[in-house]
């Protein structure tokens, strides 16, 4: 006797309709940001909802760019030309996210490999410390971090946001998961061939954990870009803001100019969404690997 497998047609139609409705619901905020950024004020404050801009205008962007200004960069004590502060915020954010990404990947690659393959004494203790720290709420230590940064004279400095991001041990755990699969014989062979530890790492280990590094890189980049609470506490002057923090500040002081805020929200989110879309395969892999309990 063969039992009918698969779901009934009715349920399948129902779930497709539900999925599409939910997808539209999840897409709507983004749609509203992008169209809102180009809507004239008459559309924004209309009595009836205006789903599509009656005409596409740049006015919101102009008011965003003249609202605040800042030197575009600051290197070795020299200020760059003055421009819209939003550009400076974007430059700061990219610098922060790239630095956090590079440092996290470099440190986690080495320590993840070490935890997975080196049989050093105290290894179990170090690993359980890392697991325990990962289960603790990160935001709870923000105030002590602030105290620490003021001792290190890093207050209102972009490095005060970068360093704690690198310290978070998720990356170590993720790379360890990837490095477990490196066959011990290959490492043994490299050692017998007389390769130094560093050489083994760069020529044998690194190529094998590359997918893990890719996943960690994109993961760190996006999380660092969006870590609003840390940025809020550490950064306090206009020219050091990140884009998230800048937009949040604009919201606090001009909470009625919706067009300007949507232009700001678009500027803060579209670049990171593009990065996500390009690398989303790596990203998905990172999420799944990082979750496997080891």
């Amino acid at each position: 006797m063969k039992i009918k497998t698969g779901s009934s047609l009715g349920y399948r139609i129902f779930s497709w309709v539900m999925l599409i409705l939910l997808a539209l619901f999840f897409l709507f905020p983004l749609y509203w940001i992008v169209t809102g950024a180009f809507k004239p004020a008459t559309d924004i404050y209309a009595r009836k909802p205006v789903m599509w801009p009656s005409e596409w205008v740049m006015k919101n962007w102009q008011s965003l760019f003249v609202k605040r200004t800042a030197p575009l960069f600051h290197i070795f004590g020299i200020d760059g030309p003055t421009g819209p502060a939003a550009f400076r915020w974007l430059i700061n954010t990219v610098f922060m996210a790239v630095m956090a990404m590079l440092l996290t990947c470099a440190t986690a690659a080495m320590s993840g490999y070490s935890l997975a393959k080196k049989r050093f004494r105290g290894r179990a203790l170090v690993f359980s410390l890392i697991i325990a720290a990962m289960a603790l709420p990160k935001q709870v230590v923000l105030i002590p971090l602030l105290k620490e940064m003021s001792i290190l004279k890093l207050m209102n400095n972009i490095w005060a946001v970068i360093l704690p991001t690198v310290g978070w041990p998720f990356g170590v755990f993720l790379i360890k998961q990837f490095a477990e699969s490196i066959p011990g014989e290959i490492l043994e062979a490299a050692r017998i061939d007389g390769a130094s530890e560093m050489k083994t790492f760069t020529t044998v280990v690194f190529p094998m954990i590359k997918p893990g590094i890719g996943a960690l890189a994109i993961f760190t980049f996006i999380n660092s870009w969006n870590d609003y609470f840390l940025q809020l506490i550490m950064l306090s002057s206009n020219e050091n803001y990140t884009i998230s923090l800048g937009i949040a500040t604009l919201q606090a002081e001009t909470s009625v100019d919706m067009g300007l805020l949507m232009a700001g929200a678009a500027l803060a989110s579209i670049p990171i969404i593009i990065v996500f879309l390009i690398f989303q395969q790596y990203f998905t892999k990172g999420i799944t690997m990082g979750a496997v309990k080891g």
Binding site: M1, I3, T5, S15, M18, L19, L22, A23, F25, L27, P29, W32, I33, G36, Y45, R47, K48, P49, M110, S111, S114, K118, R119, F120, R123, L129, A133, A135, L136, P137, Q139, V140, V141, I143, P144, L145, K147, E148, P164, V166, G167, V172, E197, N226, F229, S244, Q251, M258, M262, A265, S269, I272, I273, F276, Q280, T284, I287, T288, A291, K293
Partner: protein, 302 residues
Amino acid sequence: MNKKQGLSRALQRREDVAGYLFMAPSLIFFIGFVIIPMFICVGMSLTDATLHNAAPTRFVGLKNFITMWTDKTFLGALKNTFLIVVVSVPVTCLFSLWVASATYKMHNVPLSLFRVIFYLPVVTGSVAVTVVWKWIFDNYSGILNTVLKTSGIIQKNINWLGTPGLTIWCIILILLTTSVGQPIVLYISALGNVDQSLVEAAEVDGANNLQVFWRIKWPQIMPTTLYIIVITTINSFQCFALIQLLTQGGSDTNTVMYYIYYTAFKMTEQAGHFGYANAMGVILAIFIGILSAIQFKLGSEK
């Protein structure tokens, strides 16, 4: 024999040196920016430290921990935080499990598409998400009120973000859209890894879809469910950006995390009471630790 022992000892030392050298860069960051702050947090929670260091810091023992249980604002924040956790954790789990089971057998293109769409609010970032939702919910220019009014469902504008008892539900809704992305990715991968031969065997034995799900698939995705519950609990406990940007704790939406921030940086009369803020942080960490431990215990017994 002796020689062999000597060799393995030399080998062990080599492993120790190499192991710790590779660990060193990570450990410096980890100890410096995670472990030490944790100790500072516990230490400061026993003092009356303030932001400005105007008066000398004194050791006050457990005073902060006793004060908070008579602090009405803290108790209100605790109640709201638990409400958020109790609602959002099960809803997030069920919602993402349903989406995952409806999509995981799809072809690559629609599967990736749905996965990306449900992840978008996470990537968009809390500030951009909050700014747009604040407009959607806005009393006068928000699309929610204009749509409901033109379609005749409501007569008068509803003040979504300024009505105690209602606003917290709006915040939970936004929180849900930003927290289902990762669970969906995890469930899709877990359901794809369920042992297909068991499913087929059960179907041959006459099990219907629901039985196959509860008897075969559910136990196999249990570790994933557990992990999702833990991360969602931690995230819901830390709900901060939404509150800070939408209501500043008004309309009965204060949470513990927001109150910690408020105490440390905003409280006007005692400006920056770090000791008290850190004590609340310690309590929050203990709550999360206990809940995670219970969840893992329940999971390993199953």
